[in-house]
């Protein structure tokens, strides 16, 4: 899928913030027309095809539908090489072309998550992606978590490089509704709550490089559902190990 980002991006001034750890936020990401397509598609999937949402994340109170199901529709933008390269450029990382992503849905009253840094491995089938290609996870029976794959199927281990969360299909948000992405300076003071919280305002995003210190968590949504696209870019494992050490990788 070729995407002309110039034609669908509405905001060319994303905000880079240093605290509590480096991250980028942006509102009004896409043009109203394109955002409406995403919003409509999310509602259609929830209405017509709810079985694609699976509650499959231990300790994480959400259901998810793999991005691979939607590559031919408007959500295909998140699986495009143009989007991949743009996000890698904003984060300043050299990414592999491997993408794992899904549509997430939290029912109202979802519990707060535990702070984690996303510096996890991700497994992908086949050879490394070509420069114009994106390889998605959960292809050819290869488990993203590396625990299962069919006999004879080759797979590569990568490490998450960038986390991105895009809010779509949510009711209007006001302070007190919860459902934010909480960002933490460290684990020691995490019990006091996040140092920063990015609210689930439609057509906005938060993204950050995955490091040993990128502590973040879902904040309980009190009264409304919370919907989003969650995706990760990846880097070569040897680069991650050289930078932060093998002991920093958080294996599943």
């Amino acid at each position: 899928m070729h995407v002309s980002l110039e034609s669908i991006l509405a905001n060319r001034r994303w905000v880079r913030r240093d605290t509590p750890f480096p991250h980028v936020v942006a509102g009004d990401v896409f043009t109203p027309d394109f955002y409406t397509q995403l919003h409509t598609e999310f509602a259609r999937v929830e209405r017509d095809n709810p079985q694609v949402f699976r509650r499959n994340m231990a300790g994480y109170d959400a259901s998810a539908a793999d991005l691979g199901n939607f590559r031919d529709g408007p959500f295909g933008v998140f699986a495009s090489r143009q989007w991949h390269d743009m996000i890698a450029g904003v984060a300043g990382v050299s990414a592999t072309g491997d993408v794992s992503g899904s549509l997430h849905h939290h029912e109202p009253g979802g519990k707060s998550g535990w702070p984690h840094n996303d510096l996890n491995p991700g497994w992908f089938a086949g050879p490394p992606a070509q420069p114009d290609e994106v390889r998605l996870s959960f292809v050819d029976g290869v488990s993203y978590h590396g625990d299962t794959r069919p006999p004879g199927v080759a797979a590569r281990e990568t490490i998450r490089a960038v986390s991105l969360l895009f809010y779509v299909g949510n009711p209007d948000w006001v302070p007190g509704d919860g459902g934010e992405t909480g960002l933490f300076a460290n684990l020691d003071t995490a019990a006091r709550g996040p140092r920063a919280a990015v609210p689930p305002v439609n057509n906005s995003l938060v993204m950050f490089e995955c490091t040993p210190f990128s502590w973040h968590a879902f904040v309980s949504n009190v009264s409304n559902p919370r919907n989003s696209v969650v995706m990760w870019l990846h880097r070569r494992k040897d680069e991650a190990v050289a930078r932060w050490g093998e002991q920093s990788i958080v294996y599943w």
Binding site: L5, R13, V15, V24, A26, M86, V90
Partner: protein, 262 residues
């Protein structure tokens, strides 16, 4: 050497005006920073929220040209997180501002506290309970900032102050001069009335060393007057020569305010 001084020496240009702005993370503070960051070196004092403008902690990036040097990032505010109600914080904020820029040309006392008592002053203990905090935030902190800045920097620089038209703008409220029945603003309004009168006294005393003091008294923003018109009022007072005045901002949105004859 503070930034403002070094910039002036290296370019030969007059240094930008240095503005110390409290409550900078609120609606008015953020609007002022967005509009005037290119004209002032702003020390943006925030308690919890920071203004959504480029700062030492925050910058813009073009997602399609992430390495581009954006013009907006050249005018960054200097944010300082401080709870001015805590002992020593006012003095620390002034120390930081002077260490960073070497001077303060404009102090904007914008940080405020408001709690309405919709059922009236007589309804239980709410008005009594909230009285001290209203006067602490809306009167005592502006007084402390003015006094400490005067003592630490302004009082022995009368000629320099006049040359640079240095001044204070206290952000008051139209409620400090008028009664809006049924709003439950009694305690808040009394604190703003006190701020207005404090403004006049400060003006009379600070005239000795050439620092002007005025107040801006807007109607509700952004519901009755636009936030931008209030921000413009601050900048206008900074460039005026008046002192001891309370400027009402009670015009339709997007119109400039008129001077109130006290």
């Amino acid at each position: 050497m503070p930034d403002g001084v070094s910039r002036a020496l290296s370019t030969g240009e007059l240094p930008r005006r240095v503005c110390l702005f409290t409550g900078a993370g609120g609606t008015l503070g953020a609007a002022f920073c967005r509009r005037y960051a290119a004209e002032y070196d702003i020390v943006a004092v925030c308690r919890t929220r920071a203004p959504d403008v480029p700062s030492q902690h925050e910058s813009y990036v073009d997602p399609l040209q992430p390495l581009a040097d954006l013009l907006e990032n050249q005018a960054r505010v200097f944010t300082v997180q401080a709870d001015l109600e805590q002992p020593g914080q006012v003095e620390q904020v002034i120390d930081l501002a002077l260490a960073k820029f070497g001077r303060v040309d404009l102090l904007v006392n914008n940080a405020g506290y408001s709690r309405w008592h919709q059922n009236g002053l007589i309804d239980g203990d709410g008005a009594l309970r909230d009285f001290d905090r209203h006067f602490a935030v809306n009167v005592a902190i502006p007084l402390r900032l003015a006094v400490r800045l005067g003592q630490q920097y302004w009082m022995h620089r009368d000629q320099d102050n006049r040359a640079h038209n240095r001044n204070i703008v206290n952000v008051s409220s139209l409620a400090g001069a008028r009664v809006f029945p049924g709003q439950g603003q009694g305690v808040y309004a009394a604190s703003k009335a006190a701020l207005n009168q404090l403004t006049r006294h400060l003006a009379a005393e600070f005239a000795v060393f050439g620092v002007r003091v005025n107040a801006l008294a807007p109607n509700s923003f952004p519901s009755v007057v636009s936030t931008e018109s209030v921000a413009r009022g601050i900048a206008r007072l900074d460039h005026e020569s008046v002192t001891g005045r309370v400027l009402a901002v009670d015009a339709p949105p997007d119109q400039d305010p008129d001077l109130d004859p006290n």
